[in-house]
Point group: C2
Chain length 355, copies 2
Amino acid sequence: MVIYMSDKLSSPSIFIGVQGNGLISFGSGQPDLPPPQEIFDAMKNFKAFGYGLIQGQQTLRYALSKECGDADENNFVVTNGASEALDLTFRSICKPKDKILIHGPYYYSYDPMLKFNHIEPVITETVKGKIQMDDFEQKIHDCKAILINSPSNPTGRIQEIKTLKEIEKICKDLGKVIISDEVYKDLIYERENYMLSGDHIVTINSFSKTFSMCGFRVGYLYSNDKNIVKNAIDIKTHASMNTNILAQEMAVEALKVPKTFVEKQRKIWENRRDIIYEGLCDIGLDLWKPEGAFYVFPKVKNPRKTVWELYKKHKVITYIGDWFGDPTRIRLSYALTIDKIEEGLKRIKKYLNSG
Amino acid sequence: MVIYMSDKLSSPSIFIGVQGNGLISFGSGQPDLPPPQEIFDAMKNFKAFGYGLIQGQQTLRYALSKECGDADENNFVVTNGASEALDLTFRSICKPKDKILIHGPYYYSYDPMLKFNHIEPVITETVKGKIQMDDFEQKIHDCKAILINSPSNPTGRIQEIKTLKEIEKICKDLGKVIISDEVYKDLIYERENYMLSGDHIVTINSFSKTFSMCGFRVGYLYSNDKNIVKNAIDIKTHASMNTNILAQEMAVEALKVPKTFVEKQRKIWENRRDIIYEGLCDIGLDLWKPEGAFYVFPKVKNPRKTVWELYKKHKVITYIGDWFGDPTRIRLSYALTIDKIEEGLKRIKKYLNSG
């Protein structure tokens, strides 16, 4: 195993490409379960090569509109993953020095993405991963928008439907935009997803988590706010043009797959969730029960040293909470087989007991 | 034929998707010649689905490094077409209110892309499409970088090697970055391409024009400036992640195709160039002889009315020069068969003679 990690643990990218015998990685947020076979069938006889529509192929937008409660297909923009959908949204609604409210702990891309768009992130800290309405109400006034991520990466927690409805109402009254990053919407173990809705909501989603299509980069934004959609298309026209035309065909095929596919996957994730959650509780760690996504976010003493030593001494990759705005915790992804989860838990237990 | 073009001719996007019987489109800058068959073979047995490297797959960067005079593969970033390569470059080197020098007439995306990155475009006007060193030297001082596009869309003109070498030297002395958009480098009819080189050059290229892979969106940036490469990767990590993994495999296959493929295509383009250039001269239009790319940019009286009436009365699509920073001209792409070029020329002649 090549170790090319700096002492500084500067960002998750230091673990990219790190592989080797006996390595257990709780690092990456990438599903290990394969995509539906049908997406590969889209490649057969594919012969197109010209530019596609900047907004996204009509067939895909139509299929997506049917997934989103009979929405208008003209209100979708197909993007290079949820990442580009978010970036386009920020660029569409903000000018330099505008502020956007995010709830912490947060996905590690939010903070840098806002900053290189010259937008100031404002943080509302959650309690056990749940947004606190008092703090939210105080801070939203100064901000152009709030970015909600439920289920959350890294906490695995969902926001209560009551909370989401209150936020919908307050933002409507104040004329604030809600950007709802729902990439884990099909991985909720406690209830159905509550899709935020209204005139100035931007829903962000992707084919990466539900259909394991990470490498093909298909995501989308959906909004009834025509200005945001128009701005996003205008920017994409110049900044990247159409999303890969074949990947869009693959996404169309993914949406045709029976819903049992998604249901089966969720059961696998839920089982893994139970094993890792109970395993970490047994070890004595302080953590919140994940309600969605595939992450646990336990508190540990000296997280930086823990992550470093787990990696160097026990070949276990975890991520420091610092990257997600919480320096007291570490993140573990459970996107790996139960065998590996159990082996990883053993090593973590051994390490912590040796300390 | 559905006509949904406004009187305002607001942007080229009004022509996207306009099709119909008997329509002759000199509009789009998209090759009609097919890509090499080999790129489609990359789809056979393709089973990967996980994230790729943000910087681009190693195999593709290695193949590209061999194309660029034995460059270092670590100095490449594979992107969603040349568009994203340009956007990442602007974001990597500029902060709001910085200035970038561009030569006019210019590709229609440059101005909006700079503006939504909060960068101020400064224009150096060319004479017959050629950069004037006096004006360049005067204006470069205030700017962070110059963006060169040779061969140029829309003029079809190339910059003299002497000019390019002078610009290299001046920019080196002043510490200015040169962004060299060379997407038409394989479509030069007068000489070999002169690839700008130095410590702070960013070369932009793509598989869209040389290999007709527009819809698959594979481009790249290449620079010996490690800071620019690092910044571009950092931004891409959050703003779009890896470029589509299958499209990158297709690009690897494209680079394996014998160079005779490119040579044959160039001869076809050159023949079309001769036909449209001579045809427009015969009609009596004032235009520069294209030396590369696949555009002609003739002067016409009342370009807006001409473009509108050619479309409405004669089913011929052309673009107004306004979109490229020159309101006295119109742009015609010759990315269409000789039959169609000749039919289009007939209609243009008829229209102009009727006026």
